[in-house]
């Protein structure tokens, strides 16, 4: 039995939390539909804001979770085997959240199909869209294969329908299992370069922009990848401990994952040290001032409190000091995963805060023409809406496929 099924109090907290987030989110999504971009605080000088950061945050979670599952399916990394279906479902739900965030960010969301009709392959963004599409197809295919045995012989209701759809309603033979496993192996292996290229590609989408010295760094794609693995891995740690069936915090799977997350977190901090210290060392050059702004400016706490403190140091202490305690691992995992949003915000926004022609900051101060950015209530609540939808999607998948036990 999972912790979630056993612990009624935990369930209540999560349900209430979801209802609150969903209510706020419904308001936000409605506002977005009614008023378009009018209530958003990004504008002509800071054209990308919270939703773009949310998009790379979610897509990072997806890539991270997916890569974990790929280790199992593609390379038979058996220590993590029990986590693999959870990782796959998480990758699917967060992918949906990422695509929905960026969809809402577009000025003409329904024209997005133009990227297929008339792609410009010189653009990093085109690559993103094409690779996501491939990734989406791959993840669906993998889910079908991985969920088949879990839904074998299901005939009734929604579950039966899904089972029919994926072709295991009438039983699942060993022969089928063998065939599906070898297919999963191929897909898992294909998925690894795909996930690396699309998420490294998101980094490159920013890094290739010469007009923004803050982004224009070769380290960016690597930072994005490490970030994906850290945040995705940490999220899986929490998810597995809360929702996994009889998941032993001292067991092999969790301990393995814990070690992976600790290692990646340390590596991520090392990369960040490089990213910040090199342009800042002599305190000259276009990025130095911006980085100083990130670390010691108006929004210093985004880096120091949310990312460094809550997202890295506290989880590291928890992971190292209480390596076998479920509450500690869950807290650490959730903290790392959720506060990674702060890193994503610091990746996107500061570059846009710097005027391309400095005097512009003195130009026509109107609401859309300011070099300052803090997301508006509408933007935050849309993010809440996306989160609630993604969580609901995940939960439905979880109840239908992964866990059918009765709640205590």
């Amino acid at each position: 039995m999972s912790l979630f099924a056993k612990n009624q109090q935990l369930r209540r907290v999560l349900y209430v939390l979801w209802i609150v987030i969903a209510a706020v989110g419904a308001w936000g999504l409605w506002q977005r539909a009614e008023t378009g971009h009018r209530l958003a605080n990004y504008g002509s000088y800071v054209p990308w804001g919270l939703w773009v950061a949310a998009y790379i945050f979610f897509i990072g979670l997806s890539a991270g979770a997916f890569l974990l599952s790929a280790l199992v399916f593609g390379f038979g990394f058996n220590k993590l085997e029990r986590l693999a279906p959870y990782a796959l479902l998480t990758a699917l739900a967060t992918l949906f959240m990422a695509l929905f965030s960026i969809f809402l960010d577009l000025g003409h969301p329904f024209r997005a199909v133009n990227v297929f009709l008339h792609p410009n392959f010189g653009s990093m963004m085109t690559w993103m869209v094409w690779l996501y599409t491939a990734y989406f197809i791959l993840i669906i295919a993998e889910s079908v294969l991985a969920f088949r045995p879990l839904l074998a012989n299901q005939q009734e209701g929604l579950r039966g329908m899904i089972a029919k759809l994926i072709g295991s309603a009438n039983g699942y033979t060993d022969e089928q299992r063998e065939r599906d496993e070898s297919r999963l192996k191929i897909l898992g292996r294909l998925g690894i370069p795909l996930a690396i290229s699309f998420h490294g590609g998101v980094g490159a989408l920013f890094a290739t922009v010469v007009a923004r010295p803050y982004w224009h760094s070769a380290l960016y794609p690597i930072l994005f990848l490490t970030g994906a693995l850290v945040s995705g891995g940490a999220l899986m740690l929490a998810v597995a401990l809360i929702f996994g069936d009889d998941m032993d915090p001292a067991g092999e799977a969790i301990q393995m994952l814990r070690k992976i997350v600790v290692g990646l977190l340390a590596f991520d901090l090392l990369l960040e040290w490089a990213e910040y210290s090199i342009p800042m060392w002599y305190n000259i050059g276009p990025e130095a001032a911006l980085m100083k702004e990130v670390l010691f400016g108006h929004y210093w706490y985004v880096f120091w409190v949310f990312h460094f403190g809550l997202g890295a140091i506290i989880p590291l202490i928890l992971f190292m000091r209480a390596p076998k305690s479920a509450p500690a691992l869950i807290t650490g995992g959730l903290l790392t995963a959720l506060t990674y949003m702060a890193v994503r915000l610091n990746l996107v926004v500061p570059a846009l805060i710097e005027p391309q022609l400095k005097g512009l900051e003195n130009a026509y101060i109107r609401s859309r023409l300011v070099f300052e950015y803090f997301p508006s209530a509408m933007e935050w609540s849309v993010l809440a809406g996306i989160t609630a939808l993604g969580a609901a999607l995940w939960y439905v998948g979880y109840r239908l496929v992964l866990n059918r036990e009765r709640m205590a």
Binding site: P47, V115, S123, V209, K358, N362
Partner: protein
Amino acid sequence: MSSTEPRRGRRLDFGGFLRMIASDRSPGPAAPAADDPAPEQTPKGSTLLDKSLDRRDAMKALLTGAAAFGAAATAQASIGKSDAEKERRQLEWEEYFKGNYRLMTEQERRETIARLERLAELKRGQRVSIAGTPAREGVLYGYAFNISRCRGYRDCIRACVLENNQDRASTMQYIRIFEIKNGHMSPENGNADYFHEVPQEGHFYLGTQCFQCENPPCVKVCPVGATWKEPDGITVIDYDWCIGCRYCEAACPYWARRFNWHEPKIPRNELNPKQHYLGNRPRKKGVMEKCTFCIQRSREGQLPACAEACPTGARIFGNLLDPNSEIRYVLENKKVFRLKEDLGTEPKFWYFMD
């Protein structure tokens, strides 16, 4: 614009229906001059007078005869209204399936433009002419800005806003004039937000806009090819293909692109009806726009509105490939510089001093 092209819909206004029926108006009407507010002059006393009807409806209306005019008119008005509505919807539907302007055939371009003209009429009740004039051979446009002449009047900005049908609600402007203290050179030390008498003692003025880079990063980043550099060097946007991702806005080193965060507003009597598909035709919400060196003017051999409006002669515009052009004279005889040259964007916009 060809005037031989099949028409999509016919409009009859009862104020002068005989003239209209006889003329069988083509979709590319001679451009109504800016001061020709045809729709406004139409009498608006009754609901009938400004309704659109197609020929079938018109014939019906005529046949009802004068005696039954009153009753018939009311009925026809509602038919006319729903027909116009239907036509508008039909045209909007067709608009939805059109391709990228750059890839359209001549025929498709003409059809698209006719549709947009008709839609403008149906939606705003204003007649516009949208040109699709292509780039001329042997022309590459360039611009030079004389820093010693500009006195900060900003007449160029006003002219640009009017010429290019820019959104008034957000005071969108393509041009910025920076007031910079002597002793400095870059806009970094400037201020584009001055409200005092100009020129100020000890200051000089420097204007920026889209520099029509020869190597434009904005074009490279666009995922859907909605923006491109034309053969005469002007970077344009197909507003009906842009998905509004704003990657180009982030990638332009000169902050030359403007996004329509909401439905742009242009006062009826200030709409410039002389338009170009790739230029100043009114944009919609959710798309990018920018300076096009007034493509609707420059391709017809006129100066961009800013260059024409400048009272001090600080703005020089011309064909870089013509050795006798003024711009070539400036480039060959003055000390010129460009902004952020190190980026390699090769702007076709130079600054110089007398």
